[in-house]
């Protein structure tokens, strides 16, 4: 009897591992992010050819999608977008496929405007073939309208647009989509196209910038606050990461900024967050940073300072010993404190102001726990009390 050889099933991890074999510096390749900062270290000047990134993307997606298609040359396809500059007089808007205009958003862009940072608005070009507007060509904006208004305010005399030429789209294609050949029908088709694209771009396929990416770009482009935060993280051997995959990984960017922003009476920022991170790293050196440890501690140090309490280094040691002895790791500590709060709340034994956020629950929980465990240092009064 002959045995049929086993066909190896595709395995994502194996595919990624084998892809990474050719790199000196290994980097994370996950569905939601390929770490391009690390990947770039494998290339001269840390600049990566897009084809290399494409190979990485294909590796992660795997064989379930056939994403190699073509060849397709958009330059010679009449229905693909083209670039041009238009005048203000040629610029129009169809309210059926654009959002309402928000003056405060125009103002926001205006205040932060830079000529080198204009994203090209998108439009549909139509030439009227009949009626009063016969022969007139207009461009209807379907994305970037706020940018257009801001450029107008900045005195632009020409406006860059990336446009679909509805005049050049073959009639057959328009009819296949269920529209007719009259001006009215072509306009309806252009509106349909613009509306569909507007929803695609602004809704379905929009990928918001993650706080991690914003933070890393801020550091790389020398934003003063992010640089200061980065210095604090470096001091404690911490590293900003998208996922909490290593010791000292800092993933809760927005909350980190919130903690960094806690200032003393002279407006100095960062010191409470710095100390909270030191507390974390000293006591759980192998763990990623746990938000509900560094955040409540930042607030505790801040409140103590503002209210005139002295929390010295011995306090940190005493509190850490109590927490570790009771629960051990940082995640268990914050989860157990929250559990005790919810149990006390359902038993009706929470006294004081009911907190509406985890940071207050854990902050109060830490204060209550410290006092109940016989802590020697005087702390700010908790805003709510329960048996932790």
């Amino acid at each position: 009897m002959t045995t049929r050889p086993l066909q190896k099933a595709w395995n994502k991890k194996q595919a990624i591992k084998s892809f990474l074999d050719k790199f000196k510096i290994v980097f994370e390749m996950k569905d939601d992010a390929i770490d391009l900062r690390e990947m770039a270290k494998n290339y001269p000047n840390e600049i990566i050819p897009l084809e290399e990134i494409y190979s990485a993307v294909k590796t992660v997606i795997g064989p379930k999608y056939d994403i190699d298609q073509g060849p397709y040359d958009p330059e010679n396809d009449p229905s693909s977008p083209k670039f041009t500059y238009i005048t203000w007089e040629q610029s129009y808007l169809w309210s059926i496929f654009q959002r309402d205009v928000a003056p405060n958003h125009v103002e926001k862009i205006y205040r932060d405007f830079d000529h080198s940072a204009v994203i090209v608005p998108c439009a549909v070009k139509i030439t009227f073939k009949e009626g009063k507007l016969k022969g007139k060509t207009i461009y209807c904006i379907w994305d970037g309208h706020h940018t257009m208004q801001t450029m107008r305010a900045k005195g632009y005399v020409k406006f860059p647009v990336w446009y679909i030429d509805a005049d050049a789209i073959p009639l057959r294609q328009i009819e296949e989509e269920g529209f007719g050949s009259s001006d009215e029908e072509r306009i309806k088709y252009a509106a349909y196209l613009a509306g569909k694209n507007s929803r695609r771009i602004n809704g379905k396929n929009k990928r918001q910038m993650a706080p991690y990416d914003d933070f890393m770009i801020g550091i790389d482009t020398r934003d003063p606050q992010y640089t200061a935060m980065s210095n604090i993280l470096n001091k404690h051997n911490c590293v900003p990461k998208r996922h909490a995959t290593c010791a000292g990984a800092f993933t809760q960017i927005k909350s980190g900024i919130e903690c960094y922003d806690l200032a003393d009476m002279y407006g100095n920022k960062g010191m409470y967050w710095d100390r909270a991170i030191m507390f974390h790293r000293t006591n759980w050196p192998g763990a990623p940073l746990t938000l509900e440890i560094f955040r409540p501690l930042s607030y505790l140090y801040h409140r103590a300072n503002i209210e005139g309490f002295t929390l010295d280094a011995n306090f940190d040691k005493e509190l850490a010993a109590m927490l570790i002895n009771k629960w051990g790791d940082a995640e268990s500590i914050q989860e157990s404190i929250k559990d005790s709060y919810w149990k006390a709340l359902s038993a009706g034994t929470v006294k004081g102001t009911i907190p509406d956020h985890d940071k207050e629950r854990v902050l109060n929980g830490i204060i209550n726990f410290y006092v109940q465990s016989g802590g020697k240092t005087l702390l700010p009064t908790p805003t709510c009390q329960w048996k932790v």
Binding site: N11, Q14, W284, G286, G328, D329, E335
Partner: protein
């Protein structure tokens, strides 16, 4: 509620080891025993840790992160096999992880190891465990 974190060597001789967690070691050992006769090999855990379910789950996550590239495949039946390392080698690294995270997790004394279904009763009694 307590749970166990276990490591066992490949019974067929590869220098690979499997990690896992369970709240029902008798059932889990029975599942492994299903794959081969007791006359060939008695299913066992070579290294065992125990502690609160939350801490054990966090330990498992941390271990999988640390051994990420040593776990060569993902998917059912593959994602817990650490390639090229024995249970003893992995144990040392897990001890370091537990220390770095300060997990409230205890290691089972070597006299109960390797832990088999036959040794479970004594093990439970000694550690006053209710899994």
């Amino acid at each position: 509620m307590n749970k166990l974190f276990y490591i066992f060597n490949d019974p067929l001789g590869a220098k690979d080891a499997k990690i896992g967690i369970t709240g029902h070691p008798a059932v889990r050992l029975g599942v492994y025993q299903n794959s081969y006769s007791r006359n060939s090999h008695v299913a066992c855990f070579n290294v065992v840790y125990f502690g609160p379910a939350k801490a054990i789950a966090s330990l498992e996550k941390a271990v999988k992160q640390q051994f990420d590239w040593d776990i060569e495949r993902d998917g059912r039946g593959a994602s817990e096999w650490i390639a090229g390392q024995s249970a003893d080698e992995i144990e040392l690294k897990i001890d370091a992880i537990i220390d770095g995270y300060k997990f409230k997790i205890e290691k089972v004394d070597s006299k109960y190891l390797p832990l088999t279904v036959d040794g479970l009763e004594d093990f439970f009694k000694c550690y006053s465990l209710a899994l």
